[in-house]
Amino acid sequence: MNDVAVSLTQAGEASTMVPITTGTIQIVLLVSAVMFAIGMVGFLTRRNMILMFLCTELMFQASAIAMIAFGRMHLNPEGQVFVIFILTVAAAEAALALGLVVLLYRRKPTLDAEAWSELKEC
């Protein structure tokens, strides 16, 4: 298999046909996991509503990286297609979330998420 890959590489154009190396994908996945964890920590710890949403974007990024990496590993474009969807959702989310933030900000002039705790029962 390696021979073919090498020949293909030598043939020029289609570097996409080269299987990814183990080190690369593990490093990339590690990075994506770390980013995801940090994003989550950020989402859970930041109290600024806007930054919370930014942290969700961070998590989107992390998952996008993982998608791309796996797509690369399986040598098909579907990983990238999913990233497109992720981008779509992220954009929609950003639009709505920011609209909501603005709305909330009009009610209480603060971005503190703690200010909104009506879910609490008692």
């Binding site: 859970l44 710890t45 109290r47 919370m52 909104w116 705790s117 879910l119 609490k120």
Partner: protein, 744 residues
């Protein structure tokens, strides 16, 4: 009654002992029982007997209807009197038809009747059913009892028709309904063919007593007294109930006929608790009797029961109901005799408790000022005599005393009632005096004198004879300290004479003075007081009316007849007839324990003869002291009292006697109050431990578990996100560790 006496007296010439004190009966078989005769079921010739019970019921129902209709006339009284008189007439007819030698059972209707056939099946037929039907058991004892119960009931209802007149209306109906219920229950008690029916009557008279003591229900004291009476009686009833259970457990039947047959054949019970039957049954029954008849541990309700209207005191708490205990023990005497035969001490206990109660109550009666209370304690004391008689195995003496006591005590109470009625409810003997001289009070004075003489046991009176019957027996029967008990009884006889005449002298002799009782006048005799009692010095006593006088006269004549009847035989002889009736019943079975001529002597005389002199002397001495202190020289009485109070070493005695030896206080301190504390503690326990910790605590466990996780649900969005992510992490961990790696 005449025909009854005639009939039975003729049929039992052999029994006619007159003044003879011998009890010449043949020695019996096991336990020394007289041979019992199995009861004959005869519903034809005694069909009328059922109406003895039903007439009072009818009258009670009618009174209830009158109350509902708002009858304001004397109709309830006449209905009741008619019904009770009818009952008495029927009783007389029935008794006249009755041969004491052969008891009769009259079946009315089925009540509790259970039977079964299965089971392990080793037992005889008698245990395969529990039968306690509404049926009458007619023998000498019940005939004897029913006659005076219905007679006195009629008399007293007649008396009450005038006495209660101020309450005409609903209260009048209520009163006579109560009296009718009482008579129904009493007849059921006396005539009941089985122990359960006896128990029905037993509780029924308790109910009637409760309702009638609490007649003046607006007076808290009356309500409390009614409650006390019922509860004290219930304590006794517990004993009776346990006795009934035990009897059924041991003998498999509750019908008197079957039971007496079993006992006569020497059966000591069947179950594995052989020893218990003989030992415990009498004690249980004794407890019941003591409750109903107000003996030592349970007597305290009777003096309080005087809160009821006086006719009630006379009827229930002197003449009839309180003798139910005597009736019970007389009826179940075979059990006591069996106990004695097997070496038990039940009879001795009865005698001793009776004797000591007699003394105790007499001492209290000496120091009371309320004349009804004096009479109440006197009743307790006389009932003590009767129990003493039962315990000394002279059930004849006890029953005889029941009759005489019923007459003279009813008489005394009715006289007290007349006085109370006439003087605005005044009962304090210090505030009354010289009534004898007020016009219109002669009958009362005379009747009360008769009653007092009879109660004091002055020679020649009926009380004298019946009391001697008991006291002499103390020197005849063998038993623990019976001689000493006899002397206690004799001493009590002297005290009795003293306190009885203290009352009589104080009220009827001396200078005339009176004033009405304030609270009483305003409370229960409201209408009356409104007319007469606004100002004490304007108070005019009103003499009793015709009906009261008539009743007092009749009762006095009855009492006198009882005394005269002692001396004559045949038709008019009371003693022979009574002896015959008692001897042939279950109560008489024990009398042959003391065969004639074998008993010891007292001072070299035959005890009965000796007792005539001894107790007569004591009675006369008591009377004399009372005369000296309360009639001839009243200052001496005050001096004596001052002397007693002034000496520290003796001052406690009059004080304790006035305070009834502090028995009520002791009961409250040792039983009622601790029980109340325990109840409160239990209620606290129930709320705090059972409900609080036990139930709510258990219910709180899930809540506690939930509260561990509650901080996660603090309403903060990110908090929820944290827990969500935590859950996600756990899921992934599970996937990674278990699915992918295959192990944790």
């Amino acid at each position: 009654m005449l025909s009854a006496i005639a009939h039975t007296a003729l049929a039992n010439v052999a029994m006619a002992g007159g003044g003879d004190s011998s009890h010449g009966l043949p020695a019996g078989a096991p336990f020394g029982f007289q041979v019992p005769i199995p009861p004959v079921v005869d519903e034809q010739s005694f069909a009328l007997a059922a109406w003895m019970i039903w007439l009072p019921v009818l009258s009670a129902v009618l009174c209830g209807i009158y109350a509902a209709l708002g009858v304001k006339s004397r109709l309830p009284a006449w209905t009741t009197v008619a019904a009770l008189a009818g009952s008495f007439v029927i009783a007389t007819i029935t008794v006249s038809k009755l041969d004491f030698a052969s008891p009769v059972v009259v079946h009315l209707f089925d009540w509790i009747d259970i039977s079964w056939s299965s089971g392990s099946g080793s037992a005889g037929d008698q245990w395969h059913g529990l039968r306690a039907n509404f049926a009458l058991y007619l023998d000498g004892l019940s005939a004897y009892w029913i006659l005076f119960v219905t007679f006195l009931g009629t008399m007293i209802a007649f008396y009450a028709s005038e006495y209660m007149e101020e309450d005409t209306g609903v209260g009048y109906c209520r009163f006579f309904a109560g009296v009718s219920i009482f008579l129904f229950a009493m007849t059921a008690l006396v005539l009941g063919e089985n122990l359960v029916m006896l128990y029905l009557g037993w509780e029924g008279v308790g109910l009637a007593s409760y309702l009638l003591i609490g007649y003046y229900y607006k007076k808290p004291a009356a309500v409390a007294a009614a409650k006390k009476a019922f509860i004290m009686n219930r304590i006794g009833d517990l004993g009776l109930a346990l006795g009934i259970y035990l009897i059924w457990l041991e003998y498999g039947s509750l019908e008197f006929g079957v039971l007496f047959a079993a006992l006569q054949s020497g059966s000591t019970g069947a179950g594995q608790y052989d020893g218990w039957a003989a030992t415990l049954i009498p004690w249980c029954l004794m407890l019941g009797a003591f409750g109903k008849s107000a003996q030592f541990p349970l007597y305290v309700w009777l003096p309080d029961a005087m809160e009821g209207p006086t006719p009630v005191s006379a009827l229930i708490h002197a003449a009839t109901m309180v003798t139910a205990g005597i009736y019970l023990i007389a009826r179940t005497m075979p059990f006591f005799l069996m106990n004695k035969d097997l070496g038990g001490h039940a009879l001795e206990a009865v005698a001793w408790i009776g004797g000591l109660t007699a003394l105790l109550a007499a001492t209290i009666a000496m120091a009371q000022y309320d004349i009804k209370r004096v009479m109440a304690y006197s009743t307790v004391s006389q009932l003590g005599y009767m129990f003493m008689g039962l315990g000394l195995a002279t059930s004849f003496g006890a029953c005889y005393h029941v009759l005489t006591h019923a007459f003279f005590k009813a008489l005394l109470f009715l006289c007290c009632g007349a006085v109370m009625h006439g003087f605005g409810g005044q009962l304090d003997l210090r505030k009354l005096g010289g009534i004898r001289r007020i016009p219109g009070w002669g009958v009362v004075c005379g009747a009360m004198l008769v009653g007092s003489l009879w109660l004091s046991g002055i020679p020649g009176t009926a009380g004298y004879f019946s009391k001697d019957e008991i006291l002499a027996q103390a020197f005849i029967s063998e038993g623990a300290g019976f001689r000493f008990l006899g002397w206690i009884g004799i001493l009590t006889a002297g005290l009795t004479a003293y306190y009885t005449f203290r009352v009589w002298f104080r009220i009827f002799t001396g200078p005339t003075h009176f004033k009405p009782e304030e609270s009483h006048a305003h409370d229960s005799h409201a209408g009356h007081a409104g007319m007469d009692g606004q100002e004490d010095h304007d108070f005019h006593p009103h003499a009793p009316g015709l009906r009261i006088k008539l009743v007092l006269t009749v009762l006095s004549l009855g009492a006198i007849w009882l005394a005269i009847g002692y001396f004559v035989g045949d038709v008019w002889g009371t003693q022979a007839w009574i002896k015959n009736a008692i001897m042939h019943s279950s109560a008489g079975t024990g009398l042959q324990l003391m065969p004639a001529g074998e008993h010891p002597t007292l001072f070299g005389f035959e005890p009965h003869t000796a007792m005539y002199f001894i107790s007569g002397t004591f009675g006369l001495v008591g009377l004399s002291i009372a005369y000296w202190l309360h009639c001839a020289n009243r200052k001496a009485a005050d001096d004596l009292r001052a002397w007693l109070i002034g000496r520290r070493w003796i001052a406690w005695l009059p004080r304790a006697m006035e305070h009834k030896w502090y028995v009520d206080e002791i009961y409250i301190a040792t039983i009622r109050f601790p029980l109340w504390i325990v109840s409160q503690a239990l209620y606290m326990f129930d709320r705090v431990f059972v409900d609080g910790i036990g139930v709510n605590g258990t219910a709180r466990l899930p809540k506690l578990a939930a509260s561990l996780f509650q901080p996660l649900y603090n309403g903060k969005l990110q908090g929820y996100a944290t827990s969500m992510a935590g859950g996600l992490a756990l899921v992934i961990a599970w996937v990674v560790w278990v699915w992918m790696r295959g192990s944790v």
